[in-house]
Every structure is written in C-alpha cells, then in structure tokens.
C-alpha cells in the first residue's frame, strides 16, 4: 500500500489528541473508508507512539503517579465496576491523555508498592499485565484488563499482534521470493554464517526494481513514515550496508517494497 505524502498527512492530522481506543479507530475508518484497517491502525499506532514518546516523562514523575493513584482509588471507591482507569488514562480535558495499558502499569506498580514488601520486579509486572488474574486485587484486575483490551496501541495484546504481523510478513515475503524463483539467504542462515546484524533476506542474485538494484530486503511490517525510516536507517540499514557492500539505492528501495508488503 503506497500512500502519497498528502494522504498520509491528512490521516495524521486526524490523529492529534485522539485516545487509542476502538471507538477512535472506528471513527478513523469512517473518515477514510478507502484505506484498509491495517494501514490506518499502523499509522495510528505510530502517531500515537510519537505522542507518547513526547509526553512519557511527565507521567512518570512521582507527583503525577501519586495524583493518578489517588484519583484511581477515589474512582473505584465510588464505583468499582466503572471504567475508572480507562477513563483516567483517556482524560483529555485534564491533559492526562496517556495510553491505557501504560496507565494500568503505573497504577499497578504503585498498588504493588503499597501491598507488597519488596518493590515488584519488572517481570512480575509484565506477567500480571499479560494475565490480570494474577493481580491480587479483583477490582484492579478488572480495571487493568479493561485497559488492555481497549488499548489499540500499547499492551501485551498489541505487542503480540505486531509481532505476529512481522512474522506473517516474513512468511509472505519468503513465499513471494520462492514464487518468483529468487534465490536468497534468510536470517537464520545468515546468523549461522556469523553475521551479527542481518536483514530478513539477502538475495544471492541481486534484482532490479524500478531501476534500483536490490541486494537485500527487510520487512518492517509497519507503516514507513519518515520518522521510522530514519530510525531504522540508523539502527539497522546502515549496518547492513556496512556488511553487504550494497548501495544506498536499495535502502530507499526497501522502503517501497516494505510498503508494498503492507
């Protein structure tokens, strides 16, 4: 799926200060009926992540945590079955506006601090978020669960979906390469040969796509906006370039292919 920059900008425009919920996504779909849900979700997710990266720090000051926790306690005190935590996270009026899963994590950490002797380890927290049944407090468990299933940008479920998409696209890509009779080395083979950083596939015989030579293909299985291109270029692509001696054109190119895969 290749978007023009204008299309992309238009979508991104609609995503300013929108909570990452099912409802928001539904509205987005209604606004842009021609785009697939996957594309919209991917863009939504990336835009929202940028937003979170910008604001992450302010939610983690001890004052903020304390405020949130008190508000949570007050809320569930009034009505334990109301979506207290979710609404707290999505409150735009008071400028909270934080991902529900991440808010759940903050409150859970704070809660465990109160109820356990030792500060909870990261793995305990993660495990509780994956399976809220493990949370000792039933109300909190429900609240956390609600946050997680309602969050479409963060949380263990979303992570799993992203991971699954990545895996699926690798499989798709492999099938495509096999179908086109292109000989390649995949990541496992490359690793066995001792490469430290590997793209998904290295073509044993380079191909030309739209006038560019392509040596390797990396499927990122996410929308390639400018920002993520930049980051990937920095973290991965240059490393491949250093190792595989290919030209920059294919880096540009891998973007297109990648988008095509989405």
């Amino acid at each position: 799926m290749i978007l023009t920059k204008a299309q992309y900008d238009e979508i991104a425009q609609c995503l300013v200060s929108v909570p990452p919920t099912r409802q928001s996504l539904r509205k987005l779909k209604q606004t842009f009926p021609s785009q697939s849900q996957a594309t919209l979700l991917s863009i939504f997710s990336q835009e929202y992540q940028k937003h979170i990266k910008r604001t992450h720090a302010k939610h983690h000051t001890s004052e903020a945590i304390e405020t949130y926790y008190q508000r949570y306690l007050n809320g569930v005190g009034r009505n334990g079955s109301a979506p207290v935590l979710l609404e707290l996270a999505n409150e735009i009026a008071t400028e909270v506006d934080y991902a529900p899963s991440l808010m759940a994590r903050i409150i859970l950490e704070r809660f465990l601090q109160d109820h356990e002797e030792t500060p909870p380890s990261k793995s305990v927290i993660n495990s509780m978020l994956r399976d809220p049944s493990q949370i000792p407090d039933g109300v909190l468990a429900n609240q956390v669960y609600q946050c997680i299933v309602n969050d479409c940008c963060y949380g263990p479920l979303v992570d799993c979906i992203k991971h699954a998409i990545g895996h699926e696209h690798e499989v798709l890509l492999r099938d495509l390469l096999l179908e086109k009779n292109l000989s390649f080395l995949d990541e496992d083979q490359l690793r066995a040969k001792g490469y430290d950083k590997t793209p998904d596939f290295i073509l044993q015989v380079p191909v030309a796509v739209e006038g560019h030579i392509i040596h390797w293909i990396e499927s990122k299985a996410s929308f390639g906006d400018e920002c993520s291109h930049h980051a990937y270029l920095h973290d991965q692509f240059w490393s491949y370039w250093n190792r595989d001696d290919c030209n920059q054109a294919e880096i540009q190119n891998s973007k297109k292919l990648k988008k095509a895969c989405l």
């Binding site: 049944s133 949370i135 669960y145 299933v149 998409i165 499989v171 040969k193």
Partner: protein, 1226 residues
C-alpha cells in the same frame, strides 16, 4: 642521574613512580608526595635518565662481556686507559661511567685526540668518543669504496685505524658473541655512505651548540672499558654535575679519585690479575679455554639491588622508552650467555663492604650476577622468536624454573616457523609487449637503441653475477665505462623512462628478498644438484641456509646496506652517474611507491569465521608481504638516489656551516611527500605498511636531513608512534602483536642509524605532545589485522635473528671456537626436533621449472594459473567440508543416538561422549587428503582450459594445467593436513550439543507438532487479524461501549470458524501468537459463561440465548481439544476474576459454567482433581456472601457427580436438572 638510581636503590622512590616520572612530564596524581618531591628536584634530568641507565648497565657489564676481545685495537691509548676498567677496585664503576657519558665538553677535547667531527663515518674511527660505538675495533673504517663487505673491509683495513688491530683480528678467531665487535665475515657490501655502524645515544645536549660535535655514546655493545688517556684532561662541564649528591658532583672530581684509587691499587696488587694485564694482554687462547662458567643462583651478590634495577630497566623497555627494543634484548641475552668474567677473579670480587647498595660498587660482580639480572629482566620481557633456545638454556632453569616453564609452554604453543632461506629470484625481466613495443617509442631509432640498451644492461648484470665475488674485481673498473657509454646513448627523455622502467622492474624482481642473491643460490652448479638428487635438495637448502644466513646481517643493529643484488643496482646508479637517469628513476620510484602504498589490500571476510577462510587469508597475507617488501626496496632506492647529491661522510663541522646548509636545503621540496603519506597512513590505520618503507627511505638520508623542519616533524611523528606501541597493551582495535613488533623493530633500527641524531630519541615530551597524530580509528585498517607473520618480520628485520644466533652459539658452545655464529654444522636428519617438516624433495626443482616456464609466457598465464590454483584449493577445502566432514557429522549423530538409547536419556557426560565420538571419527579425516587431491586433479585442468586462450599450444596448456593442479593440491592439502582434525572436532561438537539439546526437555511436545496438510493453500486468516478481531470482541464485552454497540452472532461464529482454519493451516502461526489466541479464547469463553457478550439483534443488544452460548462453547471446546498445539490456560476459566464476572450478572447463570466444567472433564481437557483444586482455591477469595454460598453449591454439585465420564445425553439431562436446583437456590 645517578641520584635517581640511587634513590631508587635506597627505596626512597618506587619503581612505578620512577617509570611514571620518566615516561611523563606531568606530575602524576598517583605519586606519593614524598616520592614526587624527591623526583621533582631532579626534574631537569628526567630525559637523561634512560640514556644514563642504558649506559650505566653497559658500563657495568663491560667486565663480564669482554667478548669484544679486550683488544688494544680499540683505541690507540687503550693501555694507558686501563685504569678505567671496572675490573679494578670497586670504585671503578664510577670511573667507567664517567666515560660512558661523553664528556659534556665537546669539541675542544675531542679535537685534541680524535678527528674533530665524529658524527659521520668517522665515528668508527679511533678516538675516545668512538669507543662507545664499540662496533668494531678501532679501525673499522667505512667501506667507502662500497665494494667490499664492511666487515671484511674492516678487517682488511684495520691498520688504518690502529696499529695493533690487524694482527689480532687475523690471528684470533673473532669472538662471536659480540657482533658489534666482531661482525660476521661476509656481510654484504654496504652503501658508500650507509656503512656507518650504528649506535650511540647521547645524553641530551646541554646546549644546542654541543649537539653538533659531541662525541657519541653507544649502547650497542658491551661497553669498552678502556678509557682513552685523553679523557681525564677534559674539563668537566657535565650537565648532570649539578643538583646531585656531593658524591657525584663533578666528573673531574671523580676522575681524580679514580686515579688515586687506581694508583693505590696498582701498588697494592701487582698480580697478573690486575686490570692492566687483563686489558692489555687479551686472553691468550680464546679458542681453547673459554668455557663457560657455571652460573649459580646462590652466588648472586646484592640480589635486591639487581632486582630493582632489573625492574626499572624492564619497565623502561616495556614502555618503549628505550630506542631499540631488540638491542636491549640482545644485551640481555649477552648477559645471559656471558661465558666468564674477564677481570673478575676472586680477589677482586670481594664485595665492597662499605656500600653494598650504592652505585659505588660494581653492579655485576660475577657471572652469577649477570645471569640473575638477565633472568630478572627476561621474566618481564618475552621474546617469542627464540623460545626454544632460551628454554634450553640451563642457566634459566636454575635461576628461574618458572620462567623456563612459561617459555616451554610458549614454545609449544608457537607455530611460528622462521626460515631464513630466500626464494629463488627470477632472471631477466621479460619483454613486456604493452610497454616495450615499437608504438611506445618516438622513432625507430629510439626503439632500436632501447633494444640494444636492454641487451647491454643484461650483459652487465650477468657479468656482475659471475664476477662480483671474485677477489679484486671492481665494479667501476669492470663495468663503469660500459654503463656510461650505454647511458650516453639514451638521449630522448622517453628512452630514459623506458630504461628506468626496465631497471625498476628488474630491481623488484631480483631483490625482493632482503638478501636476494641474484638467482645463483642453487643455480651455480646444476650438475652437482642433479647428482645429489632431489631427495637431498631440501637438506642442501637447509645447509645453505645455515651457511649463508648468519652472515647476512651485522649485529643487532646493522647500518643500512645493499645486500646481494641490491649492490648491483646501487653500483649501477653510482657508475652511471647520470643526472637524467637519476631524475627519471626518482620519478618512477615515487610513482610506484605511491601506487603500492595506496593499494587496497583485501580484507578477510568477517563472515567466514569457521576457519576455511584461512586458506584465502594466507594468500592475502602473502600479498601484503610482497607489497611491503617491494615498497621497502623501492623506498630504499628512492632514498638512496634522492639523498645521493648531499651525502657526505660527516656532518658539517661548524654551526655556521650547518645553518647555511640548512637554509639552502630547507627550500628544496622533498622528492616524495613522505610526510603526507605517513600522516595518511596513520589516519587510515595502515602504519604497518607505510612505516616500514618510510624507515628504509629515511635510513639513507644524509646528516642534514633530520635537522630539516620537514623531516624533523616526520621523526617526531615516528617517535610518538614508537612510544605508543606498547607491546603488552592488547586492546580492541589495537594493532596486532606482530604488526607492532615489526614497527618497533624497524623504528628502533632507524633510531640507531648514525645519521639520525641521537638526541632525537630523548626529545622532551613537550615537543612530542605537540605532534599528536589524530588517528581516527577506522574499522578496516590494516593495522588491526594479522598481516605480519614471523617470517615477514625476520625478512624485514634480519637483525632480530641475531638474538637467535647469540643463543644458538651458547647452545652449541661454539662461541669461542668456530669463529662465527653457529658455524658448527651438524648432520641434520629430515625430522628435526622442532617438528617434522614436509619433505621438500622434488619441490625445489619443480618450483624452479615452473618459474622458468612462467617466465617465458605472458604474465596473464601465470596470473591465471595462480588464480585457478588459489580458487580450486579453497573450493577443495569447502568441498571436503560439505561432503566428508558432513558425512562424519551424520555418523556422529547416529552414533550419539545409539549411545543415548543404550545409556538411557541422560547419556552421560557430554564431554566424554564427544571424546569417544572424536576418537572414532577423526581417523577418517585422513581421507581428506586423498579426496582433496582427487578434487584438485579433477577440477583444475578444466578451469585452466576455460580461462586460457583457445589458441594456447597444447604443451603449454598441459604444463599450465599440471602446475595448477600441483599448486591447488599443495594449498588444499597443506590446509587440510593442518586443520582437518580440528575441523571435524568442531563440527562434531556442534552436532553433539545440537543432538543433546534436541534430546532435551519436551520431546513429546516437539514430536507432536504438526504443520499444515500438504493440500493446504494457506488461505486461512492471518493470526494477527484474528487476535485483533477477538480483542475487539473482548473490549466490546468488557466495555465501556456505546448503547447501540454489539456483536452479531454470525460474526462470533464466523470468528471461531476462522480461528479453526488458522489453527489448521499454521503457515503464518508463530508460538507467541498461538499462545495469545489460546488465552483470548479462554477469556471469550469466560465472557460467554458470564453472559457478558452483547449480541446485536433486533431490537437491541442483549445477552446470548443459552443454546447459542452452548453452541459457541462447544466450538471453543473442540478448538481447545484439537486445534491448539500450545497449552491452553484453561484453569483461567476458574480464576477469581473470570468467575467474578458471574457475580455481576442478574440473575446469575451457573449452568453454563457447570456445563463447561463437565465438558472439560469429558473431553479430557482438564482432570477432575485439577478442577477441584481450582474450585477449592476459589472459595478462599473474598466474595459477597450470597455469591460464595452459590459457589459452594456449585462446588458440591460438581463433586457429587460420579467421577466416571458419562454418556453425553445423560449429562445434558443432568445439566437440566441441576440447573433447576441452582436456580431454585438463587
């Protein structure tokens, strides 16, 4: 200076602090304040400390290392000087030291006794300053004529130096252990100006003026102990006379004391043991009686003092504070192998009672002391090249068994083999059609002239080859006129360039090996060789190696020379004395140097780490060696030609003259911008390539060059580099060990060249820092790669071999007898103690034949054959790995499996298993060689045929094929025979651990895993899509939701159907996704049970009907049973949270839960006890009172059921009735 040493000995200052003090100018914070204060007062002396220490040690050892026979030849006044010999009273040390430091007073005194300027060639000459040089007995004058070998020349001409020497030198077999004094006979002719024996380090000039004419002090050899008679009269202006303890205030004073002391001594002991007779009459029959004294650790005197000095000395070495690493090692080994003390007889040796720990008493009072000191230093320093000989030295064993153990271990671990043999050099440069044909010449005449010149040139060359070793033959006389006549014909510029190209090519071809002997190594008597038969050829070679090699260098620090056929080219240039020729040659050499220096040398592939790349890497290393040696050769000749016009025997005598020369020279642009190339090389981390040739270039510079700003800055950079190459530092991105060693060796050698001013090395750090080189660490520098091997190191620096020779002479005990290092030839067998060498029987001749064959063919043929051999050899290794080794690995796997079956699952110790397997399989590795041979035989000819032109004559083709087969086989078999066992081991080890892992924890789960059926077209929905959909359902169910929101029943059913398909297909399913799907399905079931799912429908969203819910639950149950391959967390159905969902519903619906539980049991998804446990723990949670009562009822109901699964129908009925009860209760 002595003050520093003394304060060290008195332990006022720690060694570490002292070394820090020497190495850095800045006060270090680590220093103890007391120490710092003690050292601060001595600050101005800091840079003089190292030269002082070195001189001190040499002077101290002079009595022990008299090997430089105490000849009168040393100096005319030697007998008068003997009072200075340290053999005398204990204060002798002091006296001697005062000489070692050349009297700071410069010219006036020196002028009285010796030629006014000593810097140049005269340094060797008789004279007090010269003594330190110690290179040769007095008269070793430069072989100015250039024809005769310097050492031979020295002997012949010794008379010129001093009257006493000639007779001595001839009658006494030279003393071997001291190469400086008695360099081996037969060294090759030195350059006319390069003949300086090297070395002297001057203790920093006190003023600029002085540096000019100051006599040099030399570190190289055992110091000569004779004091020239003139010395004492020298007015003392010693720079270190100030700020020192009164005891050493002035040299003059010391000398006076000495003299008194001496006369006292002479009166007291007129015995023959007195120093006079010692030095005056050399040991009469050195040949016979010079047996080594046994060294005994118990007899070491002042052990602590020796330890301290050894420590500081070795610290200086380790920090590269000494100018030449190998020189110091050589010195240490000399001490180690000292035969006996010269003057030291017991009467002399009684330790001076008064001051055992001061410098007043001689440091080395006996051989024991020397050996002790040497071993102490060796314990800190390690030289790899000579391990075996060192290890076999019995003195080591008795002084430090631990060190010997380490040496033995290092020796066994060292694979470095050094052969001093040179590859046979080729003959003439063949006609090069590309550059030599008519089209390249301006006219027919020029073309023909060049043709003639070519012939003349080779004629001259041949004549030189035949005759240059004849006594009395002189190059200039024999060939000079012919050469000049030929040069005269070269009129046009283009002819010059053609000739220069020929000259340069021939130079490279003949001289690439350092001692290039002109192709006549074995070629002189082919008949004899044939008679010998190929079998003996290898032995003959080795014999020749031993005969030839030891003579090829002169001492640990020989002056630059033009050995072997290099001499021809040098003499040719001199005889031709053609300005045009020189200019063209310089242009051409510069161009070629630039070209080679910037040649991109291939990098080893980082990916191929499994060792087979070794095969390729070997070739690349060889290429590096070729490039490096070519560069060194070219640079040497460039230096020779470029500095030829300025070369003179001596530096300018006066400051004024020097200034004017400097002013003149400083505006001459350098022949080649070496500074830029050096900086470039450092920046690109290619110092290991650039520096060695630069050193060659600079070694031929004249005396003024180092004073020119341009070159001075180069020296400073080199100096800085030298300091930074600390061998013991091994860090990431650092230079490889041998690379460093090579640079240290060549730089150390350069700093010892006579034309390099000695004060340069001990430059103030301030100046050093100013020239910080910005080495941007780039990943792919040559410096970080192991491009230098032992062989290349020895080829570039033959003088390192001197260490080995010194030790070898000790081992063979021949030092006093046979007149040279290792001259004793013992019959060798093909298997030497150092490891069996593959017999090189027919290879010698074969190689020569191949050489000759290629010579007559176009160069592309050779390249093709070598390329094919290279590739086929490498492929062969890969092939063996993929076939033979892979088969063996398979065998290993099946053997292992049998083993495991026999021994049960645990199978025993993996290491032991591996051993068993390897012992069974490794012998099969022997097949690799035969198979490899077959492979090469099969593949090479085709490749050669395909690559050579169709028209290649059949005979040429078949020869080329055969050579390619041979080379490829040799390459492959060499690698295979060395590595096959290790390779098999490694692969088997990997296979074993793989198999054992596979054997690991959950074989059952792994075994059951299925893929999708063959007919599957992978059209199932993607797992990510499903998770996303189910998540939407969950979020809708959990809320919050808009009133109109809901899910259609169809959608739910469809979703579960899709889930079934995906679980069937599995093409896109990865375990984490499946786990999440499983968990989501359980959550969904809980919501169904609790009737929390809002179903769309007219009129409004509502709960599911019970039948619909049950249908959906059935679907889920069958997915759990048959669809999922990961464990489904069914116990979550009974988690407090999910059960708690029921608490919110009114009226509460328990029957779905009961139904679900029964189905779980019935389908075998959960056991009754498991469910009971879950229900039990449920009761512990906090519930509203009514809810816990209902829960208890459910529990009882479930428990009341018969444990045996019942037919479905009856179960349904039961559910109905039970439901009634439950409802009634609520």
């Amino acid at each position: 200076m002595a003050a520093v040493l003394e304060s060290l000995l008195r332990e006022e200052v720690s060694v570490a602090a002292a070394v820090r003090w020497i190495a850095r100018s800045a006060q270090s914070s680590e220093d103890d304040p007391g120490e710092a204060a003690a050292l601060r007062s001595l600050r101005p002396l800091r840079k003089e400390f190292v030269p002082f220490l070195l001189n001190f040690l040499r002077e101290q050892s002079s009595r022990v290392l008299p090997q430089g026979p105490p000849t009168p030849a040393k100096a005319p006044g030697s007998s008068a000087a003997l009072p200075g010999r340290p053999g005398g009273p204990s204060r002798g040390g002091r006296g001697a030291r005062s000489q070692l430091f050349p009297p700071a007073e410069p010219s006036s005194a020196a002028a009285a006794e010796a030629p006014p300027a000593r810097r140049g060639g005269r340094r060797r000459g008789p004279g007090p300053g010269r003594e330190r040089g110690g290179r040769g007995p007095g008269g070793l004058e430069e072989g100015v004529g250039g024809e005769s070998p310097p050492w031979a020349a020295g002997r012949r001409r010794r008379s010129s130096g001093s009257p006493g020497s000639p007779g001595r030198a001839r009658s006494d077999p030279p003393n071997l252990s001291n190469l400086e004094e008695f360099p081996p006979v037969g060294s090759l002719p030195p350059g006319p100006a390069g003949t300086k024996p090297s070395r002297r380090i001057n203790p920093t000039p006190v003023s600029e003026e002085r540096s000019l004419s100051k006599p040099k002090t030399c570190f190289t050899s055992p110091p000569i102990s004779c004091v020239p008679s003139s010395q004492p009269s020298v007015p003392d202006t010693s720079p270190w006379g100030h700020g020192l303890p009164p005891g050493c205030r002035s040299l003059q004073e010391e000398r006076e004391m000495l003299r008194k002391e001496r006369s006292k001594h002479l009166q007291q002991s007129p015995t023959p043991a007195c120093p006079t007779s010692e030095s005056g009459s050399p040991l009469p029959s050195r040949t016979g009686n010079l047996t080594a004294e046994a060294a005994d650790p118990a007899r070491v005197s002042s052990r602590q003092r020796l330890e301290l000095i050894a420590l500081i000395y070795s610290s200086c070495i380790a920090e590269n504070l000494v100018p030449n690493l190998f020189l110091e090692l050589f010195f240490i080994l000399q001490l180690l192998t000292a035969r006996r003390m010269v003057a030291a007889k017991d009467s002399d040796l009684e330790p001076t009672p008064g001051a055992p720990d001061s410098l007043e008493s001689p440091l080395f009072q006996s051989v024991h002391d020397c050996v002790f000191f040497a071993v102490q230093v060796l314990e800190h320093q390690f030289d790899k090249g000579t391990l075996k000989l060192l290890a076999e030295n019995e003195r080591l064993l008795c002084f430090s068994p631990a060190l010997q153990g380490r040496l033995k271990a290092a020796y066994e671990g060292s694979v470095a083999k050094v052969s001093l043999a040179m590859p046979p050099s080729a003959q003439a440069v063949s006609f090069q059609p590309e550059t030599d044909n008519r089209a390249n010449f301006s006219s027919d005449r020029a073309f023909h002239t060049f043709k003639k010149q070519r012939d003349v040139f080779f004629e001259v060359l041949r004549e030189w080859e035949d005759r240059h070793e004849e006594p009395g033959w002189d190059f200039e006389k024999g060939l000079g006129s012919r050469i000049r006549a030929m040069m005269g014909q070269l009129s046009a510029a283009c002819s010059h360039s053609h000739f220069v190209r020929l000259f340069q090519k021939q130079l490279l071809q003949m001289c690439q090996s350092p001692g290039g002997t002109g192709g006549t190594v074995l070629g002189e008597a082919p008949d004899v060789l044939n008679m010998l038969g190929a079998d003996k050829l290898g032995r003959l070679r080795r014999l020749q190696e031993r005969l030839v090699a030891p003579q090829s260098s002169g001492g640990p620090c020989p002056p630059p020379t033009f050995p072997g056929c290099q001499g021809f080219f040098r003499d040719f240039i001199l005889s031709a004395s053609s300005f045009q020729f020189n200019q063209h040659l310089m242009d051409s050499l510069s161009l070629k140097i630039r070209e080679l220096n910037s040649l991109a040398l291939p990098q080893p592939e980082p990916s191929d780490e499994d060792g087979e790349s070794d095969v390729d890497w070997q070739g690349e290393r060889r290429q590096f060696a070729v490039v490096l040696l070519s560069l060194r050769l070219l640079a040497k000749f460039l230096g020779f030609v470029a500095f030829l016009p300025y070369r003179g025997p001596e530096p300018p005598p006066t400051r004024e003259l020097q200034d004017s020369i400097l002013a003149l020279r400083s505006q001459v642009p350098p022949a080649l911008d070496v500074r830029a190339l050096l900086q470039q090389g450092l920046r690109a981390r290619r110092a290991v390539l650039t520096v060695p040739w630069l050193v060659e270039f600079l070694s031929l510079a004249d005396h003024i060059v180092p004073l020119l700003d341009y070159y001075r800055s180069i020296f400073v950079v080199l100096l800085h580099l030298h300091r930074s190459l600390v061998l013991s530092k091994e860090s990431e991105g650092e230079m490889c060990f041998l690379n460093k060693l090579l640079l240290l060796a060549v730089l150390g050698w350069l700093f010892q060249i006579p034309t390099v001013p000695e004060d340069l090395f001990f430059l103030e750090e301030g100046q050093l820092d100013a020239f910080e080189v910005d080495t941007v660490p780039s990943e792919h520098g040559l410096d970080g790669m192991p491009v230098v091997d032992q062989h290349l190191l020895y080829t570039c620096c033959p003088y390192i071999g001197e260490l080995r020779k010194l030790l070898a002479s000790w081992v063979s005990g021949s030092s006093g007898r046979s007149g040279g290092f290792v001259r004793k030839i013992t019959p060798t067998t093909t298997t030497t103690g150092l490891g069996a060498q593959p017999p090189h029987t027919t290879q010698g001749l074969q190689a020569q034949l191949a050489q000759a064959f290629f010579h007559n063919q176009p160069p592309s043929l050779r390249r093709t054959v070598e390329f094919v051999a290279e590739r086929i050899g490498s492929n062969c290794v890969k092939h063996i790995k993929a076939t033979l080794v892979a088969d063996l690995v398979h065998q290993a796997e099946s053997l292992l499996r049998e083993q495991l079956v026999m021994q049960g699952q645990d199978g025993g110790d993996p290491a032991q298993l591996l051993e068993i397997l390897c012992s069974q399989l490794c012998p099969h590795g022997a097949q690799a060689l035969t198979r490899g041979r077959e492979f090469c035989q099969k593949k090479s000819p085709g490749a050669v045929r395909a690559l050579l032109p169709e028209e290649t004559p059949a005979a040429v083709l078949s020869s080329a094929e055969n050579i390619a087969v041979g080379l490829a086989t040799e390459k492959a078999c060499a690698w295979l025979s060395a590595n096959i066992t290790a390779l098999i081991r490694r692969e088997v080890k990997a296979a074993v651990s793989r198999t054992l892992r596979a054997q690991g924890p959950e074989p059952a789960a792994r075994g059951e895993r299925r893929g999708c059926s063959r007919a599957c077209e992978h059209h199932a929905p993607l797992p990510s899509h499903l998770i996303s959909e189910i998540k939407d359902v969950l979020s809708l169910a959990v809320g919050p939701r808009d009133p109109e929101e809901g899910i259609s029943l169809d959608h739910l059913e469809q979703l579960l159907g899709q889930l079934g398909q995906t679980l069937q297909c599995r093409q896109f399913l990865c375990p984490p996704a499946e786990q999440h799907l499983a968990k989501c399905s359980v959550d969904l079931a809980s919501l169904l049970v609790a009737d929390q799912i809002p179903v769309l429908g007219p009129p409004a969203p509502r709960g599911l009907e019970r039948g619909q819910a049950r249908r959906l639950l059935h679907l889920l149950l069958s997915l759990w049973k048959d669809g999922f391959q990961v464990p489904v967390p069914l116990q979550l159905l009974l988690s407090p949270r999910n059960v708690g969902l029921l608490a919110d519903t009114r009226p509460r619906e328990w029957d779905l839960l009961l139904f679900l539980l029964r189905e779980l049991v019935e389908k075998g998804l959960m056991g009754r006890p498991e469910i009971e446990a879950c229900l039990g723990s449920l009761r512990d949670a906090q519930w509203p009172k009514d809810f816990s009562e209902e829960l208890a009822t459910l529990f009882n109901l479930f428990l009341a059921e018969p444990p045996m699964p019942e037919p479905q129908l009856r179960a349904c009925e039961l559910v109905q009735t039970n439901r009634g009860t439950v409802l009634a209760q609520s």
